[in-house]
């Protein structure tokens, strides 16, 4: 919402802020947030009214003339200015920028330079010129807002403009336009009156809105037309007034300047009046040429599916039965609240005009505008949900302006249809409760005073505030509390800390696990990445997943930013591999990443209830250097993490996996008891290639909810060993397909309680070992916490172990 300071001042006569910034700051602190401002006379300096006394040709340039311009005694009297303006003539009053002054832009109306354009005396083709005569573009504006300005020439002032005076004053350029961020609850502030009311309350000054009186002719509106609302759910109120003996012409300069200051282009008096009232009252209006309205009847009703309609911009629009239309006795003449029709627009030949001011259903207008693809200034107002009482006030104001401008006669009476206006709401004043909400000690009279400033009267008889219809946002005591707080000043409310009950802060168990994951990953050299939660349906193919892979059962967003962001992820590898690929392409070395984020697994599709959101710890790295690690490096990180969470590493089971995106011979599923914790492995070379990773890459994905079932931060001191350990080595020749896991399981099972540890210290395959076999050697350590072990105890256990190993066709080497 833009509003010029001069317009606000006209409604708040005593307003005289110390500076533009001060005005914006104070308005912001009472709730009308200023988003910036710009002075219309920014970069305009040493500009005066001059009169052209003499125009002579330039001796060396056919397109230039030499002018003698009187700029007034105080500015040095007559000065010589050379110009190329084609429309300059003797006797004209013109806008002159003197030597050392500044203008805002060039004559071509291009973008305005930040610092303006300085003007200095100099020579033009050898002739002295001590200033410049200005076009409207050079003043930083345009013919859109000053339609009387000539095209491609200097601006000519009215004949009565005093020489040496201030032309910017005449043009209304000594003004500042403020932009406000209006919150959706304050519909009333999308109007000059609303902003002015707030400004008056902010500065504790009287608010003087226009006094509206309509001078009516002998004619009766009802003799000219009738109005009827068929679909009352979409139109709570419809007001129309008739103006006869219409003269279409330009509106006066003051009105044009105010429209221009709000960025609205003047067109003609009737269009300008509707726009002026829209800005002033926040109530869009429409003007129909009554002669084009069949049967002189207005009927407000829904369109039919499949209808089409040409709006006054000449575009054909497709309609449906949820679009409300303004119709006449025969046809549609406007899309309610959005845009009028080409068939009923007023032209310069109009004799009789029907003004419309209505209150349409906000959400319906919003949705219709969206469906039709036509958002207008008017629909922007209506979709906020307007005050139904405002329609009458606005239409009367418009008619008052018609009389003031002398451009028509207003017929008697308003043609009205729709629901009766509701009674004003009443909210009981509870001073203690308001102070209880705010934590303040504000007196009753003070509260009543703040509300009175914004035109909310207090009824002492009932101890109630009577809420004016334009304050649709005031519905309960908490809303009154905010009004009090705004004008008491948020900054004056004390700062305290909650006194109430003691509560202990902390984080959840799952968050402790996530924190531990971050800690371990970090100390293992992994940096944390964040990935999107939604991705492309193509990822399943990129990851070589089967057509019936369960991961393909993904939740789909119905209005995604694009197909590539349409599925909620059911796996985290796409994000990790994309990130690794990005790093690889940028030639980053030794990159290790981890991510903690959700996957979203639907219980059923389409989704009608909460899905299973499972946090995953995903780790990944690629091998850009020989020290970057391998499968077992990743396995080490997994075990480090799990052991930090209290898992016994020897109880983790690694089974060979069959995931299609991993190297078939280098992947493992990790589980603990019956619980699957995740997987790890080398990325399949075709998948790596797909993601632009030109090196071996390893990933691990751990399902944190599964881990949480077993994880524990409890620890119990196990004591330090007091009796010596006995160590034994086993050296063996093992069939190639027997895994270390199998061997270790046997050693553990048979080693019993006295087996303290086992360590693979040698593994070899190749020369000296026969085909199909490998040599492996383990160091075993035995200890009994209660006594010194005898050789005999250890020997018996070793025999059990060795017998078990022989069952796997393992040969012992001496």
């Amino acid at each position: 919402m833009d509003a010029s300071l001069s317009w606000i001042k006209a409604l708040v006569p005593g307003l005289n802020p110390a500076s533009d910034q001060e005005f914006m700051d104070r308005m912001t602190l009472t709730g009308s947030k200023g988003e910036g401002y710009h002075r219309l006379d920014h970069n305009l300096d040493r500009i005066v009214t001059g009169q052209v006394k003499e125009v002579k040709p330039h001796p060396d340039a056919s397109k230039l003339v030499i002018c003698q311009v009187d700029v007034g005694e105080s500015n040095g009297g007559v000065c010589q200015i050379v110009t190329g303006a084609p429309n300059v003539a003797e006797g004209q009053k013109v806008i002159v920028v003197l030597d050392g002054g500044k203008v805002a832009g060039g004559h071509d109306g291009g973008p305005l330079p930040e610092e303006g354009i300085p003007i200095k005396a100099g020579k033009l083709r050898g002739v002295d010129s001590c200033g410049m005569m200005c076009s409207i573009e050079e003043l930083g504006s345009s013919r859109d807002y000053y339609p009387e300005a000539p095209e491609g020439g200097i601006y000519i002032l009215p004949e009565d403009a005093p020489v040496g005076g201030d032309p910017l004053e005449l043009l209304g350029l000594h003004d500042t336009i403020f932009s406000y961020e209006i919150t959706s609850n304050r519909v009333d502030c999308y109007s000059i009156l609303g902003i002015a009311r707030e400004a008056a309350a902010t500065y504790e000054l009287p608010f003087v809105p226009p006094e509206v009186t309509v001078t009516e002719s002998e004619q009766k509106s009802s003799d000219y037309a009738s109005v009827e609302v068929v679909d009352a759910d979409l139109c709570t109120r419809y007001c129309a007034r008739i103006v006869t003996d219409v003269t279409i012409s330009d509106s006066p300069a003051w009105m044009q300047h105010r429209l221009a200051s709000c960025g609205i282009r003047p067109i003609n008096n009737f269009v300008d009046i509707t726009n002026y009232v829209m800005l002033e009252y926040g109530q869009p209006m429409h003007a129909f040429d009554l002669d084009t309205i069949a049967g002189h009847r207005i009927v407000v009703q829904r369109a039919q599916d499949g209808d089409s309609f040409v709006t006054l911009d000449g575009q054909e629009r497709k309609l449906d039965r949820d679009v409300l239309m303004i119709c006449d006795g025969e046809k549609q003449i406007g899309i309610a609240g959005i845009m009028g029709g080409e068939n009923s627009m007023i032209t310069e030949h109009a004799h009789t005009v029907l003004f419309e001011a209505a209150c349409f259903n906000g959400p319906n207008i919003r949705k219709s505008a969206k469906r039709i693809g036509l958002r207008t200034d008017a629909s922007g107002f209506f979709e906020k949900g307007l005050d139904p009482a405002n329609a009458e006030a606005a239409i009367n104001r418009a008619c008052q302006l018609v009389t003031e401008l002398g451009c028509g006669k207003v017929a008697q009476g308003i043609l009205e249809a729709g629901a009766p206006l509701p009674q004003p709401k009443r909210i009981a004043l509870d001073v203690d409760r308001i102070n209880g909400i705010l934590g303040t000690d504000i007196g009753k009279e003070e509260m009543i005073g703040y509300l009175a400033q914004v035109e909310v009267p207090y009824d002492a008889a009932t101890n109630e505030f009577v809420i004016p219809s334009f304050r649709q946002d005031l519905n309960g005591l908490c809303d009154i509390a905010e009004e009090v707080a705004r004008f008491y000043g948020y900054d004056r409310i004390p700062s305290t800390l909650p006194a109430g009950s003691d509560v202990t802060g902390g984080i959840t168990f799952s968050m402790r696990i996530e924190d531990k994951a971050r800690e371990v990953a970090q100390f293992c050299g992994f940096s944390e990445g964040y990935c999107y939660s939604f991705e492309s349906p193509k990822v399943f193919d990129r990851l070589r997943m089967a057509e019936d892979a369960p991961e393909r059962q993904a939740i789909r967003i119905s209005n995604p930013l694009g197909e590539d962001f349409s599925l909620m992820r059911t796996q985290t590898l796409n994000g990790m591999l994309t990130s690794l690929g990005t790093n690889y392409k940028r030639r980053n070395k030794s990159v290790r990443l981890f991510e903690i984020g959700n996957i979203y697994l639907p219980k059923a599709l389409p989704l009608t209830d909460y899905p299973d959101e499972r946090k995953q710890l995903t780790l990944g790295f690629y091998v850009s250097d020989r020290n970057d690690g391998d499968f077992f490096e990743m396995k080490g990180v997994v075990e480090e993490f799990l052991s930090q969470l209290g898992f016994a590493v020897e109880k983790l089971v690694y089974d060979r996996g069959t995931r299609p995106y991993l190297h078939p011979g280098r992947q493992a599923e990790v589980s603990h008891g019956d619980v699957r914790l995740g997987f790890l492995g080398e990325i399949h070379p075709l998948v790596a290639e797909e993601y632009g990773i030109g090196a071996r890459a390893y990933v691990a994905v751990l399902d944190l909810p599964a881990i949480e079932e077993t994880a524990s931060f409890d620890r119990v001191y196990q004591g330090l060993a007091r009796f010596p350990a006995v160590s034994r080595d086993i050296s063996m020749v093992v069939p190639r397909d027997v895994t270390a896991g199998q061997i270790e399981r046997i050693i553990r099972q048979r080693g019993g309680k006295i087996l303290e540890s086992l360590l693979l210290f040698d593994i070899y395959e190749g020369e000296q070992i026969r085909e199909g076999f490998k040599s492996m050697a383990y160091a075993l350590s035995f200890r009994d916490p209660a006594k010194t072990l005898e050789d005999a105890d250890v020997n018996a256990t070793m025999k059990k172990i060795l017998n078990g190993l022989q069952d796997l066709n393992i040969e012992l080497r001496s």
Binding site: I437, V503, Q522, S527, G597
Partner: protein
Amino acid sequence: MMNEKLKEIQERALREIRETQGLEALNDIRVAMLGKKGALTELLKGMKDVAPEERPRVGQMVNEVRAQIEQALEENRKRMEEAVLTQKLAAETIDVTLPARRNRVGHLHPNTLALNELKRIFIGMGYEVVDGPEIEKDYYNFEALNIPADHPAKDEQDTFYIYGDMLLRTQTSSMQIHEMEKGRLPIKMVAPGRVFRADEVDATHSPVFHQVEGLVVDEGITFADLKGTLAEFARQFFGPETKVKFRPHHFPFTEPSAELDVTCFKCGGKGCRFCKGEGWVEILGCGVVHPHVLEMAHIDPQKYQGFAFGFGLERITLFKYEIDDMRLLYENDSRFLEQF
């Protein structure tokens, strides 16, 4: 006679010890003087020729000489060993300016770092950290927050919809309702989490981002408590000199509502490129919980009052670490991550 010989041995031994180089030569001297066939031992063999009454005196003299020689030997041995060690250490000198060999520790994401700081402060003030669903029901994301079906605020938020009333939450405010529905009072919670809005990606927008919601519900909670709590937070997070400014604003689920500006923590309020010359930076929205919201969550608004606030985490992260493009947060370039 014995005396003279003794004196001669003593002088010779001390001289040789003094002149000798190396530990081995020193040992030779020990053997030559004090060994079984050494000079002193030989001399003792001549004791039988000494008059018996002289023997104790001569014996004492021999012992003294022996002690002197042994002492000299020991002193010299220590000196030589020290010299050898000094030489060895000198040879082992390294260039301490050569590059370090580091155990490469990874880096946490700047969002996580900022969030950890936030959590630390609020936990210190007695807040519980909670989390909840990212795929949410319309009721929790909108309706229970006083945003009914046709409310314009719903359009403003560019919601991603899934099916029926399921959607991607647009705000962590949904966690206020989940927490209140647990029926445990008082409530003091912060809920950090991921939220989604249909914004095209650019330097300041991301369709995926994070918020941190705060909620306190108890008897007698006031707007003044909200001010005090957030001012305390701002001082702890942005520095003790930080000033705060509460501006009236509107949120459907709080009334009165406010936005909080803090003095720019880069320039201290003088105005710089980070605060666009304003001296102030907007960091969050907040307000007193709307009584209708409490009612819908089955909390008696006559008895209980509360306040709520919500941050954009990325907004704080970008400011705190002077990051000029939000896209960097989701690219995961190691050269970016390793700067934190």
